[in-house]
Amino acid sequence: MMAAAVNHYFGSSIGRKQMVAVTGLLLCGFLVGHLAGNFLLLVGSDAFNLYAHKLFSLGPLLYVIEAGLLGIFLLHLGLAIKLNIENIKARGGAKRYVVKKNTGRGSTFMSDTMPWTGLILLVFVILHLKNLKFGTYYTTIVDGVEMRDIYKTTMENFQDLSTVVLYVIAMSAAALHTAHGFASSFQSMGWNHGKYFKNVKRIGYLYAVAVGGGFSTLAIYCFLKGV
């Protein structure tokens, strides 16, 4: 029974959604770290490059972290897609009702658009890695050490207005996605109690605005600052 129960868990509706929740929260944590690092753009090229260099110097450990991050991302994505496809069938197909209205007390624009904002983020992440992490490789020398000039790559990337606009759209998608996803993850894990859940929701909204707004502001800053 023990083994059966655990096996069931990983295939069950609740087990899988809890895995989406945990991976989602871990990704939320990653975004906070990423955003904090980005703020070094404001300090200057050396600070930003040094920070990136420290990360690069982690060597094999960095690969392990990156692989873990990729795994979390793919698990989140794969399970969410699987669950959504099952849900389309479960609700009785696309032509379920002639008219269907939300009560206004349940579903929100954020919760209704989760699959779409998620897919926007998927496309974004691919382009983002291509343009920046795997973008033009410049080198620079800071304090006598030669290192990658990721600052220059970043600045160049955001000189094109359409790139900035698309970036802000993607970050708005991230804000909408996390505005539902954050509190939703708590609910999935069973951490919903009348005593504190309103605050979890508030923190979720605050998080969404801070992350979406933070990344967007920095992109606009890069655009305005110029190379």
């Binding site: 069950s12 087990g15 002639v98 349940g106």
Partner: protein, 263 residues
């Protein structure tokens, strides 16, 4: 019988002879509808007119007509039971509508609720999940004095709130995912809260969730549209309690097999 307040309504009702046949919305005019009628009485009157004309009356489910049996499933203008707070269809009264209104009536839809005829669907899936929760048939002698088991008032209240679920299926019909988590959460929660429900609690959540999943119910994504349409005001906090119970049971509950010395 008819008075000045009587209304004429334009109804568009889903007609479908059986699950395999094609269905469509059919226009009807309901005349002499009194504001004091319940929604179901309004359909009764329309059906009388149809029978007199020799037409097939509209099939719809109903039983108690007092908001406690959960049979009167239908979507009214795109919302389960009409979408009024804490109200079943049989408790919706025609005073909520105006003369000349158009009302669209459709059956509940979900993979777990196959259509039988017109507005009638088979909600057996709900019963299967409930049955998976288990029941007691062993003769355990006289029940002990109820007051001997101490249950704090807030806990008893919470269990009572969960027990209010009437298994109507509005949560499933209004859920964008056709998920049955709200009624299942209510059942699991109700029994998990009380000391008498503790012994079978882990086994119950494992069995119920499994039965839910294999009967075509969808996966919850926390829209909370169920909570908004539930005629009994069941809170999604009960879904959260079920999620906790299930997580705990999946990783800690252990029944020894016969070969391991179990029963």
């Amino acid at each position: 019988m008819s008075s000045n307040n009587d209304m004429t309504l334009n109804l568009k009702i889903w007609r479908q002879p059986n699950g395999a046949a094609e269905g469509k919305l059919v226009d009807y005019r309901a005349e002499h509808v009194s504001p004091d009628m319940s929604f179901l009485e309004m359909i009764d009157v329309l059906n009388d007119q149809l029978v007199k004309k020799g037409e097939d009356p509209i099939a719809f489910d109903h039983d108690c007509r007092e908001g406690i049996c959960g049979m009167c499933s239908m979507m009214i203008n795109g919302k389960a039971h009409g979408g009024y707070k804490n109200t079943t269809t049989c408790q919706v009264h025609m005073r909520l509508y105006k003369d000349g209104d158009t009302i669209i009536i459709e059956p509940f839809r979900a993979k777990a609720f196959p259509l039988v005829k017109d507005l009638v669907v088979d909600r057996k899936g709900i019963d299967k999940v409930m049955m998976a929760g288990g029941f007691i048939t062993a003769n355990t002698g006289n029940a002990q004095d109820g007051n001997a088991i101490l249950i704090p008032k807030p806990v008893a209240d919470e269990a009572m709130d969960a027990a209010a679920c009437i298994g109507c299926g509005a949560c499933v019909a209004s859920c964008p995912n056709g998920s049955g988590m709200l009624f299942m959460g209510a059942k699991i929660s109700q029994l998990a809260l009380l000391p008498q429900g503790q012994p079978e609690s882990p086994r119950r959540s494992l069995n119920m969730v499994h039965t839910h999943d294999v009967n075509g119910f969808g996966n919850c994504t926390n829209h909370a549209e169920c909570e908004a349409t539930c005629p009994k005001g069941i809170s999604i906090e009960h879904i959260a309690r079920m999620n906790r119970e299930y997580l705990k049971a999946a990783f800690t509950y252990y029944e020894k097999s016969r070969s391991e010395g179990g029963a």
